[in-house]
């Protein structure tokens, strides 16, 4: 295997960019408008579809490198998400309790968002180790998907009386783990190239499990099944389609 070109800086820049785009999630609130519950459902559905599309892209690339390692990595990714959810007591947490003002809920929401971003960081780092265009594609897909996610977070935060600017800052801060994990994942793969299919598999398992346990279940309760399914399938289709130009 040829040694990887050193893209650590590229990873850092693009992962930071992806984390920073969360600031746009504040859009509807900055315009002085609230976001109704059914729109939060749709925002979650768009984020879910993009996650599935990203997982698809990582899986296709990973299977070309090593099937068994991808399978084992995916199992680890699923276990990581299940484990962190269980350990933090957030496995049934709803991200739509706009009227829940308890401190515990506030902490849990921020914690869930930070853990969620960590897995996405692995996706960016692993994708960059595959190739620069694929890494940039993955970072951009995660960046766009961070916007509806931040909108959901900001709806909860502003509902708790947090100011708009402060909420935007927290939304970006919750994504800092994404930058960290992207750089760490890339560094590990650069040092031990054999770990690449493992890392890709890990990202696949984690993204799918996050989609299925966090994003989709509550979407269904906020908006009609059909709108959720449409938003998800279209978002997924676009990411699947775009991947063709990056791999």
């Amino acid at each position: 295997m040829t040694p990887l070109p050193d893209l650590t800086l590229v990873v850092l820049v693009f992962a930071s960019l992806a984390a920073a785009t969360a600031v746009f999630g504040i859009g509807p609130f900055a315009l002085g408008r609230g976001v109704p519950l059914d729109h939060i459902g749709l925002a979650n559905a768009v984020a879910a579809g993009m996650m599935l599309g990203a997982a698809y892209g990582l899986l296709v690339v990973g299977l070309g490198l090593g099937k068994t390692a991808v399978a084992a990595g995916a199992a680890l990714g699923i276990m990581f998400v299940v484990g962190t959810h269980t350990a933090s007591g957030t496995e049934d947490l709803d991200l739509n309790r706009l009227d829940d003002r308890t401190d515990a809920y506030g902490y849990q929401v921020l914690l869930v968002n930070s853990l969620h971003s960590a897995s996405e960081g692995v996706a960016i780092g692993a994708a960059m180790a595959v190739s620069r265009p694929f890494g940039v594609f993955m970072a951009l897909a995660i960046a766009v998907h961070n916007i509806p996610e931040a909108t959901v977070l900001c709806a909860i935060l502003t509902g708790r009386g947090v100011g708009v600017v402060h909420a935007a800052g927290l939304a970006v801060a919750a994504n800092v783990s994404q930058i960290l994990l992207a750089v760490v994942a890339y560094a590990i793969i650069a040092a031990a190239p054999g770990s690449l299919p493992w890392a890709l598999g890990f990202a696949v398992g984690a993204l799918i499990q996050l989609t299925m346990s966090e994003l989709l279940p509550e979407s269904y309760r906020q908006t009609g099944h059909r709108s959720i399914a449409l938003a998800t399938v279209v978002a997924m289709g676009i990411v699947v389609f775009m991947r063709g130009f990056a791999a």
Binding site: L52, Y56, L59, V60, L63, K67, V70, A71, A74, A75, I78, V82, H85, T86, E91, D92, V204, G205, I208, Q209, M212, S213, L216, P217, Y220, R221, G224, H225, R226, I228, A229, L230, T232, V233, V234, M236, G237, V240, F241, R243, G244, F245
Partner: protein, 242 residues
């Protein structure tokens, strides 16, 4: 035997194999709401995994065509639902829609077999020397698809035999489409990405609109999620190893 007849018979064998997917339900006596949720989650994971594989194949033939096919697949499901006289399954709907789900899964899986049949015929077009290997691979690959169908039909009161019957029925388009695709490879190769995209779009949309919401209604969220994730990844790998 003419090559076309060989392709048809091999295709028929793969269709019959789909019926094997109903077998696990022989050993499942009582069907609780949680088992229904699991069945929905597993069927959903299997279909999402199958779609991933189909998308990977379709996009190698043409990304635009696959995307267009996918949109048509979604529109097709919306049209079928309208034709079935649906009411938007809004929040908190209980029961209801069982017949519609059974009908939809059979339709969706049958339609997806058309695209698979074309894919089989086109790959046979390369020469019949690998025919037996390909047939065996597809036959095994069809079993979880029969499982997906049975997982939707069985908890809603169909007998195991009926589940096997409908599973085989859903795969019949495979031999039927494989033959013309084999005989007119070049024509069908062009249509293939549309067909594969169509199949993936229809399956993903059906999973998202019908199977997952029902699963989340009847079982705890982490349980449903882990079942979907594991079957999805398992299905993709299962197809890869064949």
């Amino acid at each position: 035997m003419t090559p076309a007849l060989t392709v048809f018979l091999y295709g028929l064998m793969t269709a019959v194999a789909t019926g094997l997917g109903a077998l696990p339900f022989l050993f499942l006596r009582r069907i609780s709401p949680r088992a229904v949720a699991s069945a929905n989650a597993i069927a959903g994971g299997l279909m999402l995994g199958a779609s991933f594989g189909i998308l990977a194949e379709g996009t190698t033939y043409g990304a635009w065509q696959t995307l267009m096919g996918g949109l048509l697949g979604v529109v097709f499901i919306l049209g079928t639902q309208r034709w079935l006289g649906d009411h938007d399954t809004a929040l908190g709907e209980v029961g209801g829609g069982d017949k519609r789900r059974m009908f939809l899964i059979v339709i969706v899986m049958t339609v997806h077999s058309f695209a698979e049949g074309v894919a089989v015929g086109v790959s046979f077009g390369g020469g019949a020397s690998l025919a037996l290997a390909i047939t065996l691979a597809i036959a095994v690959h069809n079993v979880p698809e029969g499982l997906a169908i049975s997982a939707v039909l069985r908890p809603r009161g169909k007998t195991v035999l009926a589940c096997a019957g409908w599973s085989i029925f859903s795969s019949l388009p495979q031999p039927l489409m494989a033959v013309p695709a084999f005989l007119f490879v070049d024509t069908f190769r062009q249509a293939l990405p549309y067909g594969l995209g169509f199949a993936a779009g229809a399956m993903v949309f059906m999973v998202l609109e019908e199977l997952l919401p029902e699963a989340y209604d009847q079982a705890r969220r982490p349980l449903v999620a882990i079942q979907v994730s594991l079957t999805l990844v398992g299905m993709v790998l299962f197809q890869q190893y064949l």
